[in-house]
């Protein structure tokens, strides 16, 4: 069992990670609800985590997984701050629509 992962299986895992990451991006771009936008960023983290762990297994060293730990901490920090901001924005404009905040137009 301590054989490193083969290329193809690695590619499979990377496929899944990439799909989830891309779905996160699409979600980020399409959904107009602020919270869901941040949720999609979380999903991007998730996609990345899968690839990291797959690489860690592929290269038989733990760096990948420790990085997932760091990813988790970042995700947590980001979620806390983001949600705080979202609530603040929500209080200001009573709506969660991302379009409302477009004064910075060129």
């Amino acid at each position: 069992m301590d054989q490193p992962l083969d290329n193809l299986p690695l590619a499979h895992f990377l496929l899944t990670g990439a799909v989830i990451f891309v779905l996160g991006v699409i979600g980020f771009l399409t959904r107009r609800n602020l919270i869901i936008i941040f949720l999609c960023t979380e999903m991007m983290f998730q996609g990345v985590a899968i690839s990291l762990v797959a690489f860690s297994r592929f290269h038989m060293n733990m760096t990948g997984q420790t990085f997932v730990i760091f990813v988790l901490t970042i995700a947590a920090a980001e979620a806390a701050l983001a949600l705080g901001l979202v609530v603040l924005l929500f209080r200001r404009k009573r709506t969660l629509d991302a379009q409302a905040w477009a004064e910075l137009s060129g």
Partner: protein
């Protein structure tokens, strides 16, 4: 008394001085009346000098007096110098002689007018320009005189500048003259580029003497050693002459020029300026002989204009317009005369043209001035139909006008008779000679005779209608210059405001402040010069046929230096042509006069009946063949619309392109603006696109690298 030939130098400068004096007089109201004497004296002095110097000017090489160098660059040298030969003397006599008399008349005619000083300043400037034109030593100076005269005619036609019609007429005159002047200028350029000089003496010398050219032209054999462009010179100069002398293509300005004061019409548009064209061709005859076709064309245009103008004059109602068209017609005669130069002629036929020019100056000036007197007394009334039977009120004027009309019609033994007949004789004689254009000249002969008849008819139509028949008249309205608003009160002369005598048809129709009916004009100021003119009109012919002064003058003038006059035998045979022609033209004149008497004096209703019969023709002639309307529609209107179109084109298209180029950077900036709407996801999308694009490029290049 004979004067030193040098003194001829002073002739142009005296009127110039008078012009300056006149100009100064304009400024001061008080010195206003000083301008007239200055002008008259300066022209009179010129006349005296011309007479004094007459005998000195002999056949040997003509004299050149240099005042100062005008333009001198590289090898193009033009200076202010005068060229005196018998032809110049003849022209000077006409200019200064008629000029003095007209100026004298004008001092009476224009009295009380607001622009009195301005008038005489312009007249003296005109005499200065005309004398320069006649005495110019080179073509450039001649051109200065040429345009200077054009300017003075512009100023004088537009003298009553508050009348829009006068301003338009002045503008028209100047522009049409300018068109002629352009061709004249191009002719000068061509002469310079070909002969490398513009001085008359050298041009005439290098153009070869008249005889050889005429002979060559005569036989149709024509070797052109020189460049072919030489042939074009006569045609260009010809067009310039036609422009100035109101010949067919460019004549429309002369009838309108009658808007100016009558003395102007008499002096400029009858006697002097319009004859400049004839003088030019007479002066440069050898140059014209360079091309075989030039002189016949001149004659043809002259003949056509004569007939054309005579027909129009038949049905005009305005006295001055009739005389204007008759001037054009007589000028046509002169051009016919100068065009019919041939070795076969009995005498040098150019004499005919200059002789007619000389006599025409006198009797046409007389006619115009008498018409002026009529206008003067009828407070500006010029319409033929509104006056008749004035001889009782204005006996002297009617007699004077009768003399003028007789001379114009060519009544036997009047001056007009001799000069016109000489031209007809030459033309007919050319017709029978062996030159290739013989047929053309014989046709012109017939045209000449027909025009003589028409001239006699319309002249006496006018005279009988005005002076004979029942006495009825309608006063004019504007009183030309007198009744202008704001004219000074306390003016001497014509202020008799007395009630109109109860003539059969009192002129109640027009309410005029000054009710007075026709009266004889003041004798000393106005009628006396007319008497001198009448003497000239009658006597000139007899005096010339006895002394042959003009004939001798022409023969010895520089144009004819190499010209060998006819041998005795040919002269004899030519003499009887001369006699027969005199017979024919005399009888024609008498028939014309009789016909005019019948229709317009004895049996006016018959005249009306005939007019009604040809009503269509009369209407056309009355409207001058609609030439003005045609000219306006075909040239002026399209040119004006072209100007408007170009202006719009210029401000839209060319300016548009420039503005477009200016707008480009701004357009670029505006196109990029939408990408910065401020939405969060807009930027996200941008970033995603960017990332994808970069990845693709990297992949593609990696692949590329891998490929080879």
């Amino acid at each position: 008394m004979t004067l030193e030939l040098e003194t001829i130098k002073w002739i142009p400068w005296l009127p110039a001085l008078a012009a300056v004096v006149g100009g100064v007089c304009c400024m001061r109201k008080s010195m206003r009346n000083l301008a007239a004497p200055a002008c008259i004296l300066s022209i009179l002095a010129g006349f005296i000098i011309t007479l004094g110097v007459q005998s000195k000017v002999t056949v040997d090489s003509p004299r050149v007096f240099k005042a100062f160098t005008w333009i001198h660059i590289e090898n193009f040298a033009v200076d202010f110098s005068f060229y005196v030969d018998p032809l110049t003397i003849i022209m000077l006599t006409v200019i200064t002689g008629v000029g003095t008399l007209v100026a004298w008349y004008a001092s009476g005619y224009m009295k009380g007018d607001r622009g009195y000083a301005r008038f005489f300043a312009a007249v003296s400037l005109f005499i200065f320009a005309m004398t320069i034109l006649v005495m110019a030593d080179n073509l450039f100076l001649l051109y200065l005189g040429w345009e200077g005269v054009g300017l003075c005619s512009y100023l004088l036609i537009g003298f009553y500048y508050n009348k829009p019609a006068a301003v338009a007429a002045a503008k028209k005159a100047f522009i049409v003259n300018r068109i002629g002047d352009l061709f004249f200028a191009l002719g000068i350029f061509l002469t310079y580029s070909h002969f490398h000089t513009v001085s008359l003496a050298e041009v005439l010398r290098s153009a070869g003497d008249l005889n050889t050219n005429l002979h060559a032209g005569g036989q149709g054999v024509f070797d052109l050693g020189a460049a072919p462009s030489v042939v074009v010179i006569p045609f260009l100069l010809m067009l310039g002459a036609f422009g100035k002398s109101a010949q067919l293509p460019l004549y429309m300005w002369l009838p309108d020029a009658m808007e100016g004061p009558t003395p102007v019409s008499a002096l400029i548009h009858a006697a002097t300026m319009v004859t400049a064209g004839v003088y030019l061709i007479a002066r440069l005859l050898p140059l014209f002989a360079l091309s075989p076709y030039a002189l016949p064309i001149v004659a043809a245009v002259g003949g056509a204009t004569a007939l054309f103008a005579a027909t129009i004059a038949l049905c005009q109602c305005d006295i001055k317009r009739i005389f204007a068209y008759s001037t054009i017609s007589q000028l046509g005669y002169m051009f016919m005369g100068v065009g019919a130069v041939s070795t076969a002629g009995p005498t040098v036929s150019a004499t005919g043209a200059i002789y007619h020019l000389f006599t025409h100056a006198f009797f046409k000036a007389l006619l115009f001035l008498t018409a002026g007197s009529v206008m003067h007394s009828l407070a500006g009334q010029l319409d033929l139909r509104k006056m008749s039977g004035l001889s009782k009120k204005m006996p002297i004027t009617s007699v004077l006008m009768l003399i003028g009309c007789l001379a114009l019609a060519g009544f036997p033994f009047t001056s007009g008779f001799f000069s016109k007949d000489l031209i007809l004789a030459d033309v007919v004689e050319m017709g029978r000679s062996n030159s290739p254009f013989a047929t053309l000249y014989s046709v012109l002969g017939i045209v000449g005779v027909a025009t003589a008849f028409l001239t006699a008819f319309y002249t006496f139509r006018l005279w009988f209608r005005v002076f004979t028949g029942p006495e009825q008249y309608e006063m004019g309205s504007d009183g030309h210059g007198h009744e202008e608003e704001g004219h000074d009160a306390g003016k001497a002369g014509h202020e008799q405001a007395h009630a109109p005598k109860s003539g059969e048809t009192a002129s109640a129709a027009i309410a005029v402040e000054h009710h007075h009916e026709p009266h004889e004009v003041s004798f000393v100021l106005m009628n006396l010069p007319l008497i001198f003119l009448a003497i000239g009109a009658l006597g000139a012919g007899l005096w010339e046929s006895k002394f042959g002064w003009i004939h001798h003058g022409i023969e010895t003038s520089s144009a004819f230096l190499g010209y060998i006059p006819k041998t005795a035998s040919d002269a004899g045979e030519a003499h009887d042509i001369h006699f027969t022609m005199q017979l024919i033209s005399g009888s024609i004149a008498i028939v014309g006069i009789a016909l005019a008497a019948w229709f317009h004096w004895l049996n006016r209703p018959a005249g009306e009946r005939v007019a009604r019969a040809f009503s269509g023709l009369v209407k056309v002639l009355n409207n001058k063949y609609y030439v003005d309307e045609l000219n306006d529609a075909l040239i002026v209107r399209p040119l004006r619309t072209l100007a408007d179109v170009l202006f719009v084109f210029d401000s839209l298209i060319i300016d548009g392109i420039v503005q477009l180029v200016g707008f480009l950077p701004r357009a670029l900036g505006m196109s990029l603006r939408p990408s910065q709407q401020g939405e969060l996801q807009g930027y996200g999308l941008g970033m995603a696109f960017g990332a994808a694009f970069v990845l693709i490029v990297v992949l593609w290049s990696l692949n590329l690298v891998a490929m080879h």
